[in-house]
């Protein structure tokens, strides 16, 4: 069976009058297996959206090769697009239509039934708002409607371009549940995001992009394991003597100040047990390495998501 997506050495350069030459995509290759939840993570301007648009078939690369479900996205073919579901960054809606009319129009384009359209509205939790005009929906509701439109054709492969950007934390968590459910139904999901915790929470594998290149591809856990970074354990200062702190650190780094003591340890279990028996758990915070540390490590730059 073909991979869901195969991308080889994509390149795309924009020539702007003011900006000069910008290499938006500079030799990108990756492969997404069927059923995978694949993330493309990078700061704004890393080339995520351009890469996605090339893969979807909206833009033609200057060079490179794309295979979607074993076929080229060019030229436009109804047989291929029928199997894709797409959610774009902008909420692309027909003006002045209600949520129901909107999704029913998309359903007709994909040859799906009205029942399916209603079911999708239900799935994304918009059944109560079916009669509301799209422009009157909140940002989160619009994103969910947009995802419902992407799903209405029962696609094998779903593209989601920064679906949670500009949403409040609660709306973002709700969308995460929805995206997990989509993937759990056996659909391949490709997600771009500039939220570290989002990629970490959802993706089977993540491609880290920066300046038009894929810097590394791995699972979030794999990235962190390879990073081999110490766990940072913070407690409020004044609970332990300096001698005891030095003893507990046993040669590893300790920093302090601002009313806290911070241990960096590779054996957090032992340290935490000792702190507990000392009764020195006030202000305790444990922070393991996350994708932010990975990004710093992979790109050599601080995350500025």
């Amino acid at each position: 069976m073909d991979a869901a997506i195969e991308v080889a050495d994509l390149r795309k350069t924009y020539r702007g009058r003011r900006t000069g030459e910008v290499r938006a995509v500079d030799g990108v290759s990756f492969r997404v297996e069927r059923g995978e939840f694949f993330g493309i993570l990078g700061p704004n301007g890393a080339g995520k959206t351009t890469t996605l648009e090339i893969v979807e078939g909206l833009r033609r690369p200057d060079s490179g090769e794309v295979r979607l479900l074993g076929r080229s996205p060019w030229p436009h073919s109804p047989d291929l697009t029928r199997r894709l579901g797409v959610q774009l960054q902008a909420s692309a809606f027909f003006e002045f239509l209600t949520a129901r009319e909107q999704i029913e129009t998309f359903a007709e384009l994909y040859g799906a039934t009205k029942a399916r359209a209603a079911e999708m509205l239900e799935t994304v939790g918009l059944a109560e708002h079916a009669a509301v005009r799209c422009e009157k929906l909140s940002g989160g509701q619009q994103q969910r409607l947009s995802i419902a439109c992407a799903l209405v054709g029962d696609p094998e492969l779903v593209f989601l371009d920064e679906p949670t950007a500009a949403l409040d934390p609660q709306a973002r968590r709700n969308l995460w549940d929805l995206m997990r459910a989509i993937n759990a139904e056996g659909r391949t999901v490709v997600l771009t995001t500039h939220y570290m915790e989002e990629a970490e929470a959802l993706c089977d594998r993540v491609a880290i992009m920066d300046a038009g290149r894929v810097k590394a591809v791995d699972s979030p856990a794999g990235f962190i394991r390879k990073l081999d970074a110490p766990t940072r354990v913070t407690i409020a200062s004044g609970q332990l003597t300096d001698e005891r702190i030095a003893e507990l650190a046993s040669g590893e780094t300790v920093t302090g100040g601002d009313g806290t003591v911070v241990f960096e340890t590779r054996d957090p279990r032992k340290l935490l047990t000792a702190l507990a028996s000392d009764g020195a758990l006030e202000g305790l915070a444990v922070r393991t390495a996350n994708l932010e540390d990975v990004f710093l490590h992979v790109t050599g730059r601080e995350w500025r998501g």
Binding site: G57, L58, H76, P78, T81, Q89, S91, F93
Partner: protein
Amino acid sequence: MTATAEREAVRAPRGRAFLSLFKALGRGWIRDRSQIFFTILLPLMFMVLLASVFGSGDTAASRIVAVGDVAVLDGADADEFAVSSAPDLDAALAMLREGDADAAVVQDGAVVRIYPSATNATGGAIAEGRLSALVDDVNVEVLSAAAPGETVLATDVEEADGGALQPIQYLAPGILAWGVAISGVFGAAGTIVDWKRDKLLRRLRLTPASVKTFLGAKVSVNLVVAIGQTAVFLAVAAVAFGLRLSAWTWFAAPLVLLGTFAFLAIGVVIGGIAQTSPAAAGLSNLVTMPMAFVSGAFYPLALSPQWVQWLSYASPMRYLNEALQSVVVYGEPPSAVLPQIGFLAAFAALVGLISWKTFKFDEL
């Protein structure tokens, strides 16, 4: 499965896609109040405005200020003259400057001195003509009395076209052409700028429906709108303003459709250049206003300066206006407007080609 059957299988969903897109876009149009305003209400407002500007004055009585005793006005017909008096010439001239009268009259023995208004030149000229005729009438009476039995010539004025060419007959086709032009140009330019913003076309390119089907549905909505606009406009003009429709009026439909193609093409070029809605509206104005002014839609070309007449050949509105006037008002058969149809078609094809060549699909 035969090749035809296979093609049928592909075509069937395309027809359905066209219908659902047409429905979605049509609904959106009907619910957009600004569209209704621009296509239906604005042209009607212009008709009311222009009809009252051009339609008044010529039948109303001339306002005459008599300075002192003006004996000749004693025989004046109240339908033609509304006479007031002023104590001296200076007061009368002041009234003329303020536009309170069309002419001042002083009678000095056998000489009737007329001061036509410069403020309202047309009213002044009409008053002057009527006063001269009044003096002639009085002279004829005096001479007839002096030489009875002598034959005297008299004039009798009949309106040309049996009175058909009321201002509305002239104005309606022009305003209709203008209405069709603004809804086409503004509509297309605004739509394309909207698509740049909300990426609807980009999203639709990733559905099984083709871009051609979508654009076809969009243009079809505009064409249906243009026909509806024409029907409403002509109906209101006929019922409320006394526009007399010829038997060939139905031929306005194909003319308006052809014109809509030309104006949509202009709008697409503008939409390609503009990046925001205000920019699109501004540029659309910049193009449609001069186009309307030099088209003869609001003011007869024959009375316009030579350079306007030359420029008018470049305005597609001129041809639409002329053709509509010929078939709707004068009742000429479609064969009489073949040259206009040819120019409009050529214009639509040329601008359509330009829009196709300059359009950047990547921006949508």
